[in-house]
Symmetry: C2
Subunit: 344 residues, 2 copies
């Protein structure tokens, strides 16, 4: 039995347009909150293959989405490169000793040696694949090198990114060496996720919008393309989704060997279709806050279906689902996407 | 003696392209920090016309920018509408009782009665005008109704805007009534700023990017245009600058009776010129973090000068200057903008 989600990623005809949601394994689900409470903290949950598998499968069972996405966190990569990571309640992730110098960078584990330490991720993938229905796909993922580097340099989330950007404009060579080292680890990490059984790769550049358009290729996109090139050379049958959040002004310059472009909600789908629809399948892009209202959800899903009726499309939100969304609205969204597109 | 900044706003020929910086009266200046310390806290500084005048004039004296911008805060408006405001160290502005219901909204003071309470702002403007050189302009400002409403509804700064956006999608009528009430106050507020002596109006929609492009006109832009229409009908000689931050995907739909469009750094100036350059003077848009490096500053200023060499332009940053920028780099930026454009 084929996987409709994989077919859609590869641009093949499918009986309806598949759908999943970013952060679909998350706090809006009571079942997730229960497992999370058992695990004690967020990082424990990422480190526990049984529990990570359980929460990965929840939205498939509860919402009938067409793809599961591996439950993990993008920051396990710098963590296993040797950076001590804590998740502080109310503050988010914190690295105790951010990278400030070449020496700090040199002290980190690189390439395959770092990727080899992420055994709990590969173990989780194997468990999921044993339990996931044959017609559903499993998406593996990574943060883009730029997004990972922002945390490694700032030490935590930031509103202004001023430490990274001071480096970008004052010592761009050091920033490039950090990005190159992270890129090497990520290549091996994603290769090992593929070997463990994922069906599709998504690369999240959550903080793409922190870079001015004139510098985005140099400091982020080209590294994402290097990862895609590496994987496509060895695993051409595995679709790759690029999700750079918030770069509507960069669409004219998007290039590379990948399959699906993830459209965030700040970019009108019609604009993405005009600029990229002939080269890539488009994924997205309902404003996640529309899930607070079924009427607002319907308005957007019908508009997206109409915009993409002659295009290659995967339904999704334009960013992650929020914790206080009613589960019934998430169910409504998933079913509506599948129904609306089946009618066409 | 004419004011080069006002002339440039009105699209007239000027001997060079004028320059100012958003947040130019700010923490990167030791002279500002000294006055701020004397004032005790930020709101005290806004309420003290002598001190607010002093910090407004500092960047004119120190950097020789072509325009001063009134030192104040956008949140004095909801504060004088009756919402108790605190600036909490490390957390930013906090309203004790955010608007949740129609009753909360009805309890607020509206229209001219609220604007009449902002006497300390008008007093500050009069003091500044007594001391500002004749060839320099004074910019007055307000937050856009949407940006003000985000704080009034969330009670504080937010990453997700989920409370306002729940209202946007679930109870849009209430959100419109909030926006309409704020708009009425702002019309009178800006009129009184003009009567007190400001030369130019800037409307900051700092959180424009929180609204999806399909809803931006309905929930923000149209209210900004209402304010501009009101002011232009009575004070056609006063230039109006619109600064909606982070809406590159909305440029095709920009309309209204104003003079200058403020381009944020996420929007390439060439794109803004293509979409808007025939209708509006363009202001901006260097990435503020480029000020960490004189080389990065020069690269951008020369590129902007080149892009705008046949266009109507005002130099500025694409967002506010950051507190840890070296003062000498800010001086370098201002002088370079004036020199580069004088050469053309």
């Amino acid at each position: 039995m084929g996987k409709i989600f994989v077919d859609a990623c590869l641009g093949k005809e499918t009986p309806y347009t598949p759908v999943w949601m970013m952060r679909q394994a998350g706090r809006y689900l009571p079942e997730y909150r229960a497992v999370r409470t058992q695990a004690g903290n967020f990082l424990n949950l990422c480190h526990d293959p049984q529990k990570a598998c359980e929460v990965t499968l929840q939205p498939v069972d509860i919402l009938d989405v067409d793809a599961a996405i591996l439950f993990s966190d993008i920051l396990v990569v710098p963590n296993e490169m040797g950076m001590k990571l804590d998740f502080v309640t109310g503050e988010g992730p914190v690295f105790e000793s951010p990278i400030e110098t070449q020496e700090d960078l040199d002290a980190l584990i690189g390439a395959e040696a770092a990727a080899n330490k992420l055994t709990y991720v590969y173990e989780t993938i194997k468990l999921i694949k044993e339990q996931l229905a044959q017609d559903k796909a499993l998406i593996g993922f990574t943060g883009a090198p730029w997004t990972l580097a922002t945390y490694m340099i700032e030490g935590q989330g930031t509103k202004t990114y001023n430490i990274c950007k001071k480096m970008m404009y004052s010592d761009p060579e050091l920033l490039h060496r950090i990005l190159a080292k992270v890129t090497e680890v990520v290549k091996f990490y994603m290769e090992k996720q593929i070997q463990a059984g994922i069906d599709v790769v998504q690369i999240f550049d959550s903080w793409a919008a922190a870079i001015e358009p004139a510098k985005y290729d140099e400091f982020s996109w080209k590294y994402m393309v290097q990862i895609a090139d590496y994987l496509k050379a060895k695993y051409p049958h595995i679709p790759i989704i690029m999700f750079p959040k918030g770069i509507p002004a960069f669409l004219d310059k998007v290039y590379g060997n990948f399959d699906v472009f993830g459209v965030d909600w700040s970019t009108p789908m019609a604009l993405a279709k005009e600029k990229l629809g002939d080269r890539y399948v488009l994924q997205g892009n309902m404003e996640p806050c529309r899930l607070y209202s079924q009427e607002a959800t319907r308005e957007c899903v019908e508009s997206l279906a109409n915009t993409m009726k002659e295009g290659r499309h995967i339904f999704n939100l334009g960013h992650g689902i929020l914790p206080d969304v009613p589960v019934e609205n998430a169910k409504y969204f998933v079913k509506l996407c599948q129904d609306v597109s089946r009618r066409k």
